[in-house]
Subunit: 202 residues, 2 copies
Amino acid sequence: MGLRERKKEKTRLAILDAALDLFLEQGYESTTVEQIAGAVEISPRTFFRYFTSKDHLVLWFHDHGEQLMVETLRSRPQGDPPFTALMHAVRAVLSDMEGSTEDEHRRFLKLRRILDENPQLIGQSVARSAGTERRLAELVAERRGVDVDTDQLSHLIVAFAMSAMRVGFECPRRDGSVPEITGRMAETIELAERSLRPGWDL
Amino acid sequence: MGLRERKKEKTRLAILDAALDLFLEQGYESTTVEQIAGAVEISPRTFFRYFTSKDHLVLWFHDHGEQLMVETLRSRPQGDPPFTALMHAVRAVLSDMEGSTEDEHRRFLKLRRILDENPQLIGQSVARSAGTERRLAELVAERRGVDVDTDQLSHLIVAFAMSAMRVGFECPRRDGSVPEITGRMAETIELAERSLRPGWDL
DNA sequence: ATGACTTGTGGCACACTATGACAGAAAGGT
DNA sequence: ACCTTTCTGTCATAGTGTGCCACAAGTCAT
């Protein structure tokens, strides 16, 4: 990896960290792109070359998770029932989170606090999920050998799986360390699995 | 109802209709608030007094549905299992849709086409749901006699119910008349009910 | 009807997000 | 060193959304 790419990654993280801190200090809405850019000494124009929008700062985590889920789902054996395969994908996201660096944990916890204080950002995050669900539904439909445009169950399977993940992520008892949070998310996932009739997703 | 209120309602609908038509003609993104305001001969400033944002034009339907769901949920007997009560609320939205005027049906079908062509708007709509889910979760938690801030199942019940509604609304085979659409949504809801283990929501 | 009172409207200024275009700086490869 | 590719800052611009104030329109007395 050349100097250029290392520098870019460094800038990306500097922007992210500066933004998260500013959001926590003075709120999301009242922090401007100009301030963020100023804090890392880049021009506002350059900011938009690293993050397509201000919202994107809070969605980077989501984007990472989505990519991981899609990859995991693809790698699961075709014999797995679709919902089971999706649950593996969700657990892959949890493991990834547990296995990441201290810095990333800090960012994640900051992000959580910011989302907590700005419900409209949870909305943005959920909005992002709409696209994710579409992509996952295509994979599930392929597994089930049906047409994604006409099969409702494929969509329902994905929607339930994402619901479980989201509830585990955002819902109750928000504080704690990363392992505590992932632990609780795992509980929610199990709760969802227990709630469904065996064989419903075939 | 005085002249003033009638006039306001008329303006509101004029804005809505003009906007929906413009969105269909030339796309959502490339239609500006100035154009919409021009089409109904009001100032752009006044537009924002009727709709808080451009997005809000596409969310008016969602807002109406949410209000109806909350009211219906409140009116269901406390003895109903929570998910059952929610399903009644969803069905109330469907009946309301079927029972509304021809004009409203036309608006609804236009909106559907617009959402279909602009996936990011589905995202916005889903984002709106985040707030709705929170409010519904509070009602469900109350029914179950638990604390909404610590009980995951209450949130999961709501998330599953809203998933079913959303899948039915946006997913497969988008065309058709209003009764056809509500009919398909009803099917999806039943599918969701069959997928869950009896008594899971107690 | 005439007046006083309340509410809606238009115009203006303004802050902010986001994008296109171009020139110059920095990094990569030879 | 040289040339190419990629990144950066500056400038201009479009569009959304809000506060403010004067004015018009609807409302409600007498």
